[in-house]
């Protein structure tokens, strides 16, 4: 699927007019926030753990080359294989080669954002290997041929009625008169349909939340148990993960796990946290016979050592999306690629190029909630600001914005003129507010005021008020 990051403004207009999407977002959006708050309040050490989690990842990023080497040695020692992929194309080719060697026709998949990033499903299908997503949310968007609209809840944009319609379309072998009005019936149907796939699959592909250098272990975190059935039943298990998933030790993994689920779903711990090391051992009654890890760079190493490095601490919990007023208004698809929300607006320009994603850093009110809730303490507003600077340096903004900034700079550099102009503007705008304190339309800014009111100034400028209070 092609990225539509370049048409962000048009995507937004469409999203705001989409009644079903708006219903889904307002119904479910606030629940994430409540759940996280409850989990945080129940753990007095939560903020101290966030500090430690941040420090662990900073240490890893400073020593990433060495940790990757240590990790590889350990995987090989346990009988597994490590494949290094510089970009999406290399990763896809390596995965297809493993599937071909196993004569695979059917591949089950646990949830993986990296798989979405490299658009693996379309590639496998085009090459004669059928991929089946087994996480319920991922399965839903797969049968709809969509991208995830949220990092941990890929189908958060859908209502139960849409799911029912999709299931009736996709599962034509089932009784057309079955009752699918309740959510448990939908879940039960997915369970039954996918059970068959687990047993039939030749290869299971999962992502990884962590790669542990100490032991050569990959860790996945799920609630459904789908990732486990995906990796223990087929003969071959392929893990796909990006370079920054490394943590040094089991202790470090435990620390970050303590902030992950709480930030994501508000659970103390996800239902299933699974540590996998190599293939099945001699005498083991089950488990895969082959274990492969594909480690993907895809532009991440370019971020190391730059002002953007902090983004590589991200553990993909989705808390910044849940707390973002922009995300909650427009949903994830408007962002146009794989990673939505504040972290998406920071990561996407790094991976696809700022020229293709120049609108995303502007999709922020800079309210700062994303940074407040980030378990890894990523300074998201600061990173967004860095991208805006890049955008300006590379002349990617429309002429009108550059012109506007030029006008502002002209006044800002001339204090006397600035004070006169702002005092005049404040008076004019106050009158425009007609005593209501807000305006529903503004000259030259109808695009902005179409969905929101502009607060009218209270009559005096900041400098005037400052002067008065100093007296």
């Amino acid at each position: 699927m092609d990225a539509s990051t370049a048409t962000f403004p048009a995507n937004v207009t469409k999203a705001l007019a989409d009644g079903q999407l708006q219903y889904a977002m307002t119904e479910t959006g606030p629940r994430f926030i409540e759940k996280r708050t409850k989990a945080r309040d129940a753990l007095p050490e939560f903020d101290a753990l966030r500090d430690q989690a941040r420090d662990i990842k900073n240490h890893v990023l400073d020593h990433l080359d060495i940790y990757l080497e240590r990790y590889e040695e350990k995987v090989q020692k346990s009988g597994g294989h490590v494949h290094w992929a510089q970009d999406a194309e290399e990763a896809r080719a390596q995965i297809l080669a493993i599937c071909r060697k196993a004569n695979a026709k059917l591949v089950t998949k646990g949830k993986s954002m990296i798989s979405e990033e490299i658009d693996l499903n379309h590639y496998l299908s085009a090459n004669g290997v059928e991929p089946v997503e087994t996480d319920l949310g991922e399965y839903l968007i797969q049968i709809r041929n969509e991208r995830p609209s949220h990092i941990i809840a890929p189908a958060v944009h859908l209502t139960r009625d849409q799911v029912e319609a999709d299931f009736r379309k996709a599962h034509t072998h089932l009784d057309p008169n079955r009752d699918l009005t309740e959510i448990p019936a939908l879940v039960e149907e997915a369970r039954t349909v996918l059970r068959q796939k687990y047993f039939a699959a030749d290869v299971g592909i999962t992502g990884a939340n962590f790669l542990v250098a100490e032991t050569g272990t990959s860790i996945i975190v799920t609630n459904e148990g789908n990732g486990d059935l995906t990796q223990i039943l087929p003969k071959v298990h392929i893990v796909i993960a990006s370079i920054e998933k490394i943590v040094p030790t089991l202790e470090d993994a435990a620390t970050i796990l303590r902030v992950l689920a709480r930030s994501a779903t508000g659970q103390d711990f996800s239902n299933y946290t699974t540590l996998s090391t190599g293939p099945r051992r001699e005498g083991d009654p089950d488990g895969p016979e082959e274990y492969h890890v594909v480690i993907l760079d895809n532009g991440r190493s370019n971020v190391l050592g730059t002002e953007f490095q902090d983004m590589l601490r991200c553990i993909r919990c989705g808390a910044c999306l849940n707390h973002c007023p922009v995300y909650n208004a427009v949903g994830g698809h408007a962002y146009g690629w794989v990673y939505p929300g504040p972290i998406g607006s920071v990561v996407t320009p790094a991976l696809v190029g700022i020229e293709k994603a120049k609108h995303l850093p502007n999709a922020s009110t800079f309210c700062g909630r994303c940074e407040e809730v980030c378990p890894m303490r990523i300074p998201l507003p600061k990173l967004l600001r860095h991208w805006r600077e890049k955008e300006f340096e590379q002349h990617l903004q429309p002429q009108s914005i550059r012109w506007g900034l030029g006008v502002w700079a002209f006044f800002a550099k001339r204090p006397k003129l600035y004070r006169m102009a702002t005092a005049l503007a404040a008076r004019v705008l106050t009158n425009q507010g007609h005593g209501k304190g807000r305006m529903s339309s503004l000259p030259l800014a109808s695009g902005w005021t179409r969905y929101r009111d502009f607060p009218a100034p209270q009559g005096k400028t900041f400098q005037q008020l400052w002067k008065e209070r100093r007296k």
Partner: protein
């Protein structure tokens, strides 16, 4: 140059601060010492405290907990549990030596051995550890412990010795290192907190998703 070497060289050129030796020494020290970070207070205390917190946390995530005083009572309590859940008196277990010694013949329970089959409705496993902090059980794969038993059947019954209920994950890591060696792991370590669930449709929690519908933990004092 291979993709591997190119990637590592690029990462090195971007990250390297200080000499190669000091950087390697820092990594090797951390891997060898695996220092513990902050451990929450919640689970820390004597065995009674740990069992109590474990029980509360497991129940909070939809699992059930029963405490027995004698390992030999386990088969009877499994029979009772299955009867009360309207399930046939049939379980599948691995060949774990502690489970193997139990008096399975006493009741009417049928016990099969080996990896889970598609038709199995209930399994019994012996936990490697329990973690009070979040009501989590830890299963370790091996000849005696098929991983499929944790996921395929409708009901997963876990036998957990009270002495193996730890305050935190970190104590289970220590036990793993003691039994398997430094830096060596069994193929699969499953940390399981309650029955399978999903919130993927309208964020409504539904149990089960793909794994067991019920998790029943029998703690043996």
């Amino acid at each position: 140059m291979t993709a591997r070497d190119a990637m590592l060289a690029r990462i090195r050129s971007k990250t390297a601060k200080g000499s190669d030796e000091t950087r390697r020494a820092a990594v090797d020290a951390r891997l060898a010492q695996h220092p513990r970070n902050l451990i929450p207070e919640r689970g820390i205390g004597d065995e009674d405290h740990r069992v109590r917190v474990f029980t509360e946390m497991m129940q909070a995530v939809g699992g059930s907990v029963e405490i027995v005083n004698d390992l030999n009572d386990v088969p009877d309590s499994i029979s009772d549990y299955l009867r009360n859940s309207n399930l046939p008196a049939h379980v599948r277990r691995g060949s774990d030596p502690v489970l193997a010694r139990l008096p399975w013949h006493r009741g009417t329970l049928e016990v099969a051995q080996g990896r889970a089959e598609e038709t199995d409705r209930a399994s019994v496993t012996r936990a490697f550890a329990g973690i009070a902090e979040t009501g989590t059980i830890i299963q370790v794969s091996g000849q005696d412990n098929p991983t499929t038993l944790n996921f395929l059947p409708e009901v997963h019954i876990v036998v957990l010795e009270a002495s193996a209920v730890f305050a935190s994950y970190e104590e289970a890591w220590t036990k793993l290192r003691d039994e398997f060696g430094e830096g060596i792991m069994p193929r699969t370590v499953n940390m399981i907190s309650g029955p399978s669930r999903t919130g993927d449709i309208e964020q409504t929690i539904v149990r089960p998703a793909h794994g067991p519908k019920n998790m029943h933990v029998i703690i043996v004092r």
